[in-house]
Subunit: 335 residues, 2 copies
Amino acid sequence: MPRKRATIREVAQATGLSPAAVSYALRGLQVSEETKERVRAAAAELGYEADPIARALASGRTGMIGLLCGSLEDLWQQSLAVGISRGLREKDRYALILDAFGDPARERALAQQLRDQRVDGMIVQPIDPAAAFWPELCESLPVIAVGDSIAGTAGEVVFDNRRGVTLALEHLRTLGHHRIAVLTPTRASTPDRPADVHVMAEAERLGLDIQVATSPHGLADATAVAHDILAAKEPSAVFCFADSIAYGVYAAAQELGLSIPGDVSVMGYDNHPMSGLLTPGLTTVDWGIDGIVRAAVRLMSAAADGGTRRRHVVQAPTLRERGSVARVPGHRQGL
Amino acid sequence: MPRKRATIREVAQATGLSPAAVSYALRGLQVSEETKERVRAAAAELGYEADPIARALASGRTGMIGLLCGSLEDLWQQSLAVGISRGLREKDRYALILDAFGDPARERALAQQLRDQRVDGMIVQPIDPAAAFWPELCESLPVIAVGDSIAGTAGEVVFDNRRGVTLALEHLRTLGHHRIAVLTPTRASTPDRPADVHVMAEAERLGLDIQVATSPHGLADATAVAHDILAAKEPSAVFCFADSIAYGVYAAAQELGLSIPGDVSVMGYDNHPMSGLLTPGLTTVDWGIDGIVRAAVRLMSAAADGGTRRRHVVQAPTLRERGSVARVPGHRQGL
DNA sequence: ACGGTTCAGTGATACGGTTCAGTGAACCGC
DNA sequence: GCGGTTCACTGAACCGTATCACTGAACCGT
């Protein structure tokens, strides 16, 4: 039975009320209990279900939250997106997941599109937090930033990248690594990466010899990039700014017949579930994805429901030691 | 500038045309080239962008496609969802991704919700293809099934599971495995699994001693299930109906100090990118995810744009041999 | 008995497009 | 110069809900 959907008018007619009264009743507003019950019964009878489109047009609210991801090539970001999507669904909202492919220009375009799509709010993992369009966007709808901070948001779940970088680099240094290759996610035409700044500063502080390169998140691409770096045999360790990229290093090491951590140590960033399964397990910086998901969903819900207070949650990292980082031969513990 | 959006009426006024003419012009319908140009200019001038909500209400089309996934715990399904979502975005559509958590009841509820949300179509990875609500649903909107076949769909990308199972089991048998544990994804309160039927039939045909158990897709859960199975040390091989579950077997083997494939062989199903990175690499059945994504997107686009022909695409599997399956000691090649 | 509140419900309008039937003008062949 | 098409555009209805301003009735304390 491809039955035509019942409208609010039919319910009104069936109950002898006005459409307005039905509208109120179904949302539990300013009507008597008795009438509410009558309306509910009639609605059930007719199989009535309010049309979300019409509702959105009239009320200005769609029930949708935009989820703008930096790059879904990154498995960790995939998990994050799936988690947030689920969390929002529990709050009776839908997530519209979009992928910026690590491109700031596309990020801007997609943010625009999401706004045009009339989402009630956006959760953003900003590629370029300093971009000029953010503040403007934040004025027209509630934005929650995840990862890096953005000016004007309704709330933030910020990763303490400074601390994360320190954790990673200090660990490497403690084990004697000085020449370290750093692999950060490729971002098309980006000006400056906030996290990179921390890497530079921290390397300076620790007296490390850093060599920075960029890599896409995809396994094949990351493998290619890592291949070149490992083939040069310069660094004793590779610090990847995403576990996904570290996976590429593993693959490249396999290709080259290099052993991890025998020939080269690898440090990740994120702690994706698969990282523990590799041989050796990937030593990485853990951000507690569940906490991030919960915080993001909570902040977004609050903001979209008209919550006013701007909440700022800082996510603290933990070093998750597994087997991919070894002591440099001849290096004594302690220095 | 939180400017109020321009409406079609303002554009009409600016051009001296009627709103109807503007509507037609912007969609490139029955107006002179000259007028189209004039309208475009005015629209750009005013920063006009048609409101998708109002458009949806009037036209009955939302531009959204529902994506109903069986279980997003499964990393392979995550990749699939991300891929399809991207593909649809290229066709100027948005994907609404929902996760059924392997639960047929929830699958039904979500399908319902997606329809209520007025999506233009649905791409479904059915958990319970035989469920009664599918045909009814298919009558009210175009549905594309991915994986198993459903009655009444507008198109399908069907996996030849019969062939996939044959590939896997024959490979195991060729190497001398007879007692084989089969791990299929847990599905709450499901009646019968289509794929299981093939396993049974094929095991019968090949004279194998099959022991079927179910496992969730999540790594932790799958590990727990696999732990029990491996601890019993009965089977010489485990055939997992999803790479995600195989990952659990790897983890359990690690915990128990068992070697793969020395102590137990493991066979996967899907060929997730990470499967090649494990040690040893997971031997698995590859379905060519890119082809699936392309086919699903193509069929959905065709169906949503009013295409009429029902297309049926069959996806053929390939055996991807890596290192996780070994010959049973003492077994001669050929039998 | 009275003015003032609250309560339950109404009527009209707004939301911002799409679409259908219709209209005048231009154009066609003959 | 005439009926018939085609073209470019218009006016009005419509999609299905939310919400604002308002009303009549009941209820309040004095």
